[in-house]
């Protein structure tokens, strides 16, 4: 008796499943929608990181938008010019380079516990945005790196880590230029550089030199020595802060070694691991 009842239960559910399955298979054939071949090819060509840097929900969504037309072909920052070329080839359009130079972000601050002055002790949530909500951070300098690593957690490829000095550093070899860290950084100390940049001025403070000296040993004090020592190097001091114009091809070595606070550092992967 029990066996009969069990077999009823099994047979009814199994029968229902088979019936519905067959019905769905039939409906799928009847209602099949042909997918655009180009969209599938584009999905293959795109990196598949689904980071959303192009402004769409993911690689598949961007591929569908390209097929639909009226979007630029080089929005994929991860793939850069190579992928843009492939995309253009699939769409049968000649690729014209626009602004597709590869860029990587870097932390423009080298101030840590041993070099910077702190205004108060923070023991809240380990999150830069939360800390920034309190008086713009616990450093006296309000434009520096807060060091709680929000960018490290948001990075989809683990290109950001604490280096040997305990400061946040972007590894440009791993970085896919998705820009999520630039968006999440509350102080804006994470800024874009050309991939080929040899040096960067690792400071973001626009305070006067005398004030920077008081709260940070490695800040830019706008002394203009870099401008004088490497006139061809593209150094330019504006708003009490030195910045490098990377279009200038001249030698920068002189200016870098002469910097009294040593805040011009190499954007080098190997020495910062």
């Amino acid at each position: 008796m029990v066996l009969v009842r069990i077999s009823y239960a099994v047979a009814s559910v199994a029968g229902l499943g088979i019936l519905l399955g067959l019905g769905l298979a039939f409906a799928a054939r009847l209602l099949a929608v042909r997918k655009d071949e180009r969209a599938e090819a584009l999905e293959q060509a795109l990196p598949g990181a689904n980071c959303g840097a192009c402004g769409f929900a993911g690689c598949a969504a961007y591929a569908a938008e390209i097929v639909g037309g009226e979007v630029a072909l080089d929005l994929c920052t991860v793939g850069g010019p190579d992928v843009a070329k492939q995309v253009a080839m699939i769409m049968g359009i000649e690729y014209k380079s626009t602004s597709a130079e590869k860029r990587v972000p870097q932390v423009h601050c080298r101030g840590g516990v041993s070099t910077s002055e702190y205004a108060f002790e923070y023991s809240g949530v380990e999150d830069c945005t939360a800390l920034y909500a309190l008086f713009g951070g616990n450093k006296v300098c309000k434009s520096g790196c807060l060091g709680l690593g929000s960018c490290i957690r948001v990075c989809p490829v683990d290109a950001i880590c604490y280096d040997s000095d305990g400061l946040v550093w972007v590894n440009k070899e791993i970085c896919i230029s998705c820009g999520l860290c630039v968006k999440i950084c509350p102080t804006g100390v994470m800024q874009w550089l050309p991939y080929d940049a040899d040096y960067l001025v690792a400071c973001s403070s626009k305070d006067k030199g005398a004030r920077v000296r008081k709260y940070c040993k490695v800040g830019c004090i706008a002394c203009k020595i870099c401008e004088k020592k490497s006139p061809e190097g593209g150094f330019k001091v504006e708003d009490n802060l030195s910045r490098i114009d990377y279009a200038a091809a001249g030698d920068r070595q002189e200016g870098v070694t002469a910097c009294p606070t040593k805040c011009i550092v190499g954007n080098d992967v190997h020495t910062r691991q």
Partner: protein
């Protein structure tokens, strides 16, 4: 119970979203724009009415005669899942923009507790085939009503200044709570007064 009574019960008094709090996921997820809210509402009406009819048939014609009513949940889910797959295919064929607007929430109707809820409630209330079907449609209309009103409010909220921590989903949930309070005004007394 008369059909009018069933309709009033499921649209207003026992509104699935605002009184029974079933199916909140698509209610919050797809209520950002009125267009997609209307599409979602009609998809839910279709799934609910078909599901309540199909589950009635399976319950009365297979489960009860074989004395295996305890299988109702699993067989109902099976039917609902298949139905939703069918609706998905039909929408993709007929209106790709609507398919895109509904996004992930369309497959989520599969596991939507509101659809399973109407099937189980219809069985428990011992409705006949027609009553189950009407109850399904009415419950779907209740969902449509709630989601369209919600989307209209949210479209206006987008233009208003809202404190930053409340922007987006939080203010939507607060709105839903206020709407649920308003729906408490509909109770069983309404049925008595209207139908005697």
């Amino acid at each position: 119970m008369s059909y009018i009574g069933i309709i009033i019960t499921f649209v207003f008094i026992n509104n699935f979203i605002l009184t029974q709090f079933l199916g909140l996921c698509p209610f919050i997820g797809v209520s950002r724009k009125t267009d997609s809210a209307v599409g979602m509402g009609f998809a839910v009406i279709f799934v609910m009415s078909m599901a309540s009819l199909a589950t009635w048939a399976v319950y009365r014609l297979i489960l009860v005669p074989l004395n295996i009513e305890y299988l109702q949940t699993i067989s109902f889910i099976l039917i609902i899942a298949a139905l939703v797959q069918l609706v998905e295919m039909v929408i993709l064929k007929i209106s790709p923009p609507l398919y895109k607007a509904l996004g992930i929430y369309l497959p989520l109707i599969t596991t939507n507790c509101a659809v399973l809820g109407i099937a189980l409630i219809a069985v428990r209330s011992e409705y006949n085939a027609m009553e189950s079907f009407v109850a399904g449609i009415a419950a779907g209309f209740g969902f449509l009503l709630a989601i369209v009103v919600m989307s209209a409010i949210r479209e206006r909220l987008d233009k208003e200044w809202v404190p930053k921590p409340f922007r987006g989903v939080p203010i939507a949930f607060i709105t839903a709570g206020l709407m649920a309070l308003a729906f408490m005004a509909f109770d069983k007394a309404l049925l008595k007064n209207l139908l005697g």
